[in-house]
């Protein structure tokens, strides 16, 4: 039981960083980013390639993967999504769906369908906490995930760009007449979301095996985080990650590992029935 709770909490931190990018884009650009899972996996592959080429530790490869992902997000938003947004929500949705297919297939071509893993020196190490044994990687995932989300929260609260992002999500027209270039801010928001995906990708890659098609798993987790936490709420993603992680691990502990995933989805269903706008909906 203690083991399940500790693992649930630690996995929760990882889930939160997986979901936070999706939540930001939902809340600010009002876009359902169906390619979010693929972006997470793409970042893992970037990290793999950079580590292989330079010998950098996957964690350190983020120095390059982060900016690359920011640029990709900024470009996709500015060159494609911003132009389609005046035509309603469907066109951008389909574009992102198409993007997910393209990314999957490009990865498949370049890296083949073999399972991959980001190796780090602490891969196999554990530590004891009470009578539970915790993999060190889980702890690293959780700490980094939570730190990045907290840093993001500070950024949103205390910088002009962060405040502009929140202003745009609050009232687009009012933001324009306060001197904010809304399309530019959408691009920046997408870029920021992609940086969180980059972090998530590296953490996921050092924790689990990944294939070109694993993105959909992370998309579903992200949907769960958004549903539980509420769209666009950064605080909400942290709590949602915790709930989702605990639900899965405790569900697995109580009803057997085959029902682990189901336990998580049941929480989503309960959430949709009781508070469909999410815990911290804006």
């Amino acid at each position: 039981m203690a083991q399940a709770i500790i693992n649930g909490i630690l996995i929760g931190g990882l889930y939160a960083i997986i979901g936070v990018g999706m939540s930001i884009i939902f809340g600010i650009v009002k876009l359902t980013n169906l390619a979010h899972g693929e972006f997470v996996v793409l970042a893992a592959y970037f990290s793999l390639a950079i580590s292989a080429a330079t010998g950098l530790n996957p964690g350190l490869s983020l120095i390059l993967v982060g900016p690359i992902m920011f640029f990709i997000g900024f470009a996709i938003q500015n060159l494609i999504v911003n132009r389609l947004m005046p035509r309603g929500a469907e066109a951008p949705l389909l574009v992102m769906f198409g993007m997910s297919i393209i990314i999957q297939n490009v990865i498949l071509q370049v890296f083949s369908a073999d399972p991959q893993h980001l190796t780090n020196p602490l891969d196999t190490s554990n530590f004891a906490l009470g009578n539970a044994v915790v993999p060190t990687t889980f702890l690293i995932d959780c700490v980094i995930g939570v730190c990045v989300i907290l840093a993001l929260n500070v950024f949103m609260k205390h910088t002009y760009v962060g405040m502009a992002v929140r202003a745009v999500s609050d009232d687009t027209t009012a933001a324009k007449i306060m001197g904010i270039n809304v399309n530019l801010i959408y691009g920046v928001a997408m870029g920021i979301a992609m940086v969180t995906s980059a972090v998530a990708g590296v953490l996921v890659g050092q924790t689990y095996n990944f294939y070109p098609t694993t993105g959909s798993q992370y998309l579903i987790i992200s949907f769960g985080i958004v549903v539980i936490g509420g769209m666009g709420s950064i605080k909400g993603t942290l709590v949602a990650g915790l709930i989702f992680g605990l639900a899965q691990l405790l569900g697995g502990f109580l009803f057997g590992t085959t029902l682990q995933l189901l336990a998580g989805y049941i929480i989503i269903l309960i959430m949709l029935a009781v508070k469909p706008q999410g815990l911290f909906a804006k």
Partner: protein, 240 residues
């Protein structure tokens, strides 16, 4: 005639919403330092006209000059940076942000950021109620206080011209009176040129140095309060 003293000049502006002509060749000018009121019935095209001036709506025809520069069709965020700010109808505060965050975001343009602490102090002096509520979400404020946030937010952008769109809509008479006192103060001591969009002719005549009446998308009457009698304005207002 374009003179240096006119801060804002609108020539033959036409705005369509589909087949509907909202503004139909409006000519409008605002002398520097003035308080100009623009009155007219619902649907006369007042809001569309100033939305167009501030860059939210694009005109089909006509030109807008601000400080002598042609700003027709420029995006709103560039127009704000030039010193023209709109206080939109219904205040449109960022309801999920605190009062102070609303004000700070008002100083988003480069020019305004440099002096944001001074301007913030000026706004708090002008509206002490905002200082008390500075850490409250603006969505939790009363209508009058929200209107103050919107005015304060506009001031934070260091404007030379502010357009107020029906600032008194839905507010209690005492609150309206108080806000009008502040607007005159902003005009006099702050040196900001003001355009007031109003439905209430009497109130706007008292406050302004110039009054324009809009009817069916055109400016049909224009003059100083001395030149315009209430009868004249009423006739123009209703088109009789």
């Amino acid at each position: 005639m374009r003179t240096n003293r006119d801060m804002l000049i609108v020539e033959g502006l036409r705005v369509n919403y589909g087949d509907f002509v909202a503004v139909d060749g409006a000519d409008f000018r605002v002398p520097q330092g003035a308080i100009v009121s623009l009155v007219g019935t619902n649907g006369a095209g007042k809001s569309t006209l100033i939305d167009c001036i501030s860059g939210i709506t694009k005109p089909a025809q006509g030109r807008v000059y601000f400080k002598g520069e042609n700003i027709t069709g420029k995006p709103a965020h560039e127009i704000v940076a030039m010193g023209l700010t709109l206080v939109p109808q219904g205040s449109r505060c960022f309801v999920r942000m605190t009062v102070e965050e609303n004000l700070i975001i008002g100083s988003y343009t480069k020019k305004a950021r440099a002096s944001r602490m001074e301007t913030l102090k000026y706004v708090y002096d002008l509206f002490p109620a905002l200082y008390e509520k500075r850490n409250d979400l603006s969505g939790a404020l009363s209508g009058g206080q929200r209107q103050m946030v919107a005015i304060g937010r506009a001031l934070m952008s260091k404007p030379e011209l502010i357009l107020f769109d029906e600032i008194s809509l839905g507010l209690a008479p005492t609150v309206i009176k108080d806000i009008y006192v502040r607007i005159r103060e902003i005009n006099r001591s702050g040196g900001v040129t003001v355009v007031l969009i109003e439905q209430d002719v009497k109130r706007s005549l008292r406050a302004s140095s110039r009054c324009d009446v809009m009817l069916k998308g055109r400016i049909v009457l224009s003059g100083s309060p001395g030149e315009l009698t209430e009868e004249k304005i009423k006739a123009a207002y209703f088109g009789i």
